[in-house]
């Protein structure tokens, strides 16, 4: 396999000016991540700052209704309310140990921006967050949180003014400031070594889930499910289970409104191979190779590409990738609130919705772990708007 590739997918399709910092990062990963100093400090931060291990919650009420046993890996209980903090604390510590004083990041829903700002504040790093102007409006609560933590949030007015344009802006800024700045990439996509780096920091999710489930039941789950935008929470959950052949693995993409031809965020199901943001992956694109606007009711899934390892897992047949539309995600959002007293992020609601929608194909009494990647406080305004628009 070529360096930096998962099968045919991945690579480093970046301007030459970005190759030196990517090579520097790869070298730092090799040296620093394995060191006892890094591991000791990272483990301590995960426990004492992030709040790990997060709970594995059995949903008794919904399980009765659905006919299978629904378990949730509760990344919503991690500090800042989403799995993103695992990655940003890791990358912030790496930044510090690389001797760089500053981090920049892109964000869609704002969760990665908040998590980066948080980690930067903790480790005394300067921080700048790029966010599409559309996302700034729909996630203003998170913008305020970032600013409170001392980060500068920069609205990106170009292109579709969403996550993909925030990534473009952050990459441009990284080219110019690479000597002092680390780009804290937020998902398991982008050029090598980011898909590996982010997976490294997120794989704690699957490791904990497997251990917790074994302790509770003495066996392996029948299935694990996670939502996929760029795919970091999913790859974090899946990595530990990929070698467990008995475990079915399902990634869930956002189908948008679900109507044929609608804007969506489902490049694995509805995209074609191409190169964007440094990696060969599956993309939403025109025949001419121009990137198409994506859509999901959840800003965090609203991305026209996906991490290359997911594409490889899809191509190899190891992981099944399904789709859930906005209305199904809203339904799951409500069901989890009403039945279990848990407010999920709209991103995570897609994963829960897939399990609900496919309940008839899951054997009675089977154990299904859904990764609840984040909490939904940030999505309350979107939820209210949706109800107003759809009269429900």
């Amino acid at each position: 396999m070529k360096r930096g590739y998962f099968g045919d997918f991945g690579g480093q399709f970046v301007p030459e000016l970005l190759m030196p910092p990517l090579l520097e990062l790869e070298e730092a990963m090799g040296k620093i991540l394995k060191s006892a100093e890094f591991q000791q400090e990272f483990t301590s931060l995960l426990k004492n700052f992030v709040g790990r291990p997060t709970a594995l919650t059995y949903c008794a009420n919904l399980s009765r209704e659905l006919g299978f046993n629904l378990w949730l890996k509760r990344e919503d209980l991690a500090h800042t309310g989403a799995h993103k903090i695992n990655n940003t604390v890791g990358q912030a510590l790496l930044t510090k140990m690389m001797g760089k004083p500053r981090m920049i990041a892109e964000t869609g829903a704002g969760q990665h921006g908040v998590a980066t700002a948080t980690a930067a504040a903790l480790l005394d790093l300067e921080c700048e967050i790029y966010m599409g102007a559309v996302d700034v409006k729909r996630q203003s609560h998170n913008v305020r949180r970032m600013e409170l933590f001392g980060a500068k949030c920069i609205p990106v007015e170009s292109g579709t003014q969403t996550l993909k344009d925030a990534i473009n802006a952050a990459l441009r800024m990284w080219i110019a400031n690479q000597r002092t700045t680390h780009y804290c990439f937020g998902t398991a996509a982008g050029p090598h070594p980011f898909p590996l780096l982010v997976r490294e920091f997120q794989s704690i999710i699957g490791r904990e889930a497997k251990q917790q489930f074994k302790e509770r039941t003495g066996e392996m789950p029948y299935m694990v499910v996670a939502c996929v935008g760029g795919g970091s929470n999913a790859i974090g959950m899946f990595h530990e289970f990929v070698s467990e052949e008995s475990v079915k693995i399902v990634g869930v993409e956002a189908a948008g409104t679900g109507e044929p031809g609608c804007f969506n965020s489902a490049p694995i199901n509805l995209g074609t191979p191409g190169v964007l943001h440094g990696a060969h992956s599956l993309l939403l694109q025109s025949e001419d190779g121009q990137i198409l606007p994506s859509h999901s009711i959840s800003a965090g899934l609203d991305y026209p590409g996906v991490g290359p390892e997911h594409v490889h897992l899809h191509a190899s047949g190891r992981v099944q990738y399904g789709m859930v539309n906005d209305s199904q995600a809203i339904n799951a959002f409500k069901m989890l609130c009403h039945n279990e007293g848990i407010l999920p992020a709209l991103e995570s609601s897609h994963a829960v919705a897939w399990a609900i929608e496919n309940k008839d194909s899951i054997p009675k009494g089977a154990n299904v772990i859904v990764n609840l990647s984040g909490r939904g406080d940030k999505d309350m305004d979107i939820f209210e708007d949706y109800l107003k628009q759809h009269g429900k």
Binding site: E16, I175, A176, V275, E287, D288
Partner: protein, 255 residues
């Protein structure tokens, strides 16, 4: 295979005691009707090589001026087919070398082999792909070379001599040296360290060295005498045309 057309164009200009001129315009700018007229005007007014941008929706190496111009062209329906077919029609009237510059994905979707053949048929001499570093470009470079199209190496202030040597071994046409750690767009001054980088490039590459990104006025090149064989300018030209002025007027300052 050594492809000499672009190097010859630059060497010819240098032999006449001047820096070769490489203006850049996104395909279809300022609009689809005027574009080919502007290209002919650039050619008639001293361009040694003309760079035609292949617009892309997500141009990470470009600054705001080139990005906005490219998006305008995409909105007008410009694609690679339009550029290659249009070029094929006017190529015989153009004396300058022709280089296409853009991003990998549109070319990948067009089909690498088909692109190499069609580019050759349309009279393209070289290709610059902003997001195709050495490691990812080896096979495509060979495919292009078979079709007598040079894959122009793009290096910069932070490119180590080791990496420059990689590019130099397979590089053709000319070496495109990026003047700043940043995106395209004219700037008032160039970084001092540029001299060290250019000296290195001149030593390592056995093809001419062109300087691009950040150039606004020929006076910027005075301090770099002997280090730069060709100058590339895009944003300043785009802005000039955007103001309704002519290519001839713009080129007058550089000639």
């Amino acid at each position: 295979m050594i492809i000499t057309t672009l190097a010859d164009k630059i060497n010819d200009a240098n032999a006449k005691g001047r820096t070769a001129l490489i203006p850049f315009l996104p395909g279809g700018y300022p609009d689809k009707e005027k574009f080919w007229k502007e290209i002919l005007e650039l050619d008639a007014n001293g361009a040694d090589i003309i760079e035609i941008g292949m617009p892309f929706s997500d141009p990470v190496a470009d600054g705001p001026v080139v990005e906005a111009a490219s998006l305008k062209c995409l909105d007008a329906g410009v694609n690679l087919k339009w550029i290659l077919e249009g070029l094929a029609k006017v190529r015989s009237q153009i004396n300058a070398g022709i280089v296409l510059m853009g991003y990998y994905n549109p070319v990948l979707q067009y089909g690498l082999e088909k692109f190499a053949k069609d580019a050759n048929s349309a009279g393209v001499n070289g290709l610059i792909i902003a997001d195709l570093p050495y490691e990812e470009g080896v096979e495509f470079r060979d495919l292009l070379a078979k079709n007598e199209v040079a894959l122009v190496p793009l290096v910069g202030l932070n490119t180590s001599p080791e990496r420059m040597k990689l590019y130099a071994d397979g590089g053709n046409g000319f070496c495109y040296f990026v003047s700043v750690l940043g995106t395209t767009g004219d700037r008032d001054s160039l970084p001092e360290e540029i001299k060290v980088g250019l000296k290195q490039a001149k030593e390592i590459f056995n093809i001419p060295v062109a300087l691009g990104f950040g150039l606004k006025h020929p006076s910027q090149l005075i301090q770099l005498e002997g280090l730069v064989d060709a100058a590339v300018f895009g944003s300043a030209l785009i802005r000039h045309l955007g103001d309704g002025k002519s290519c001839a007027e713009f080129m007058k300052v550089w000639k």
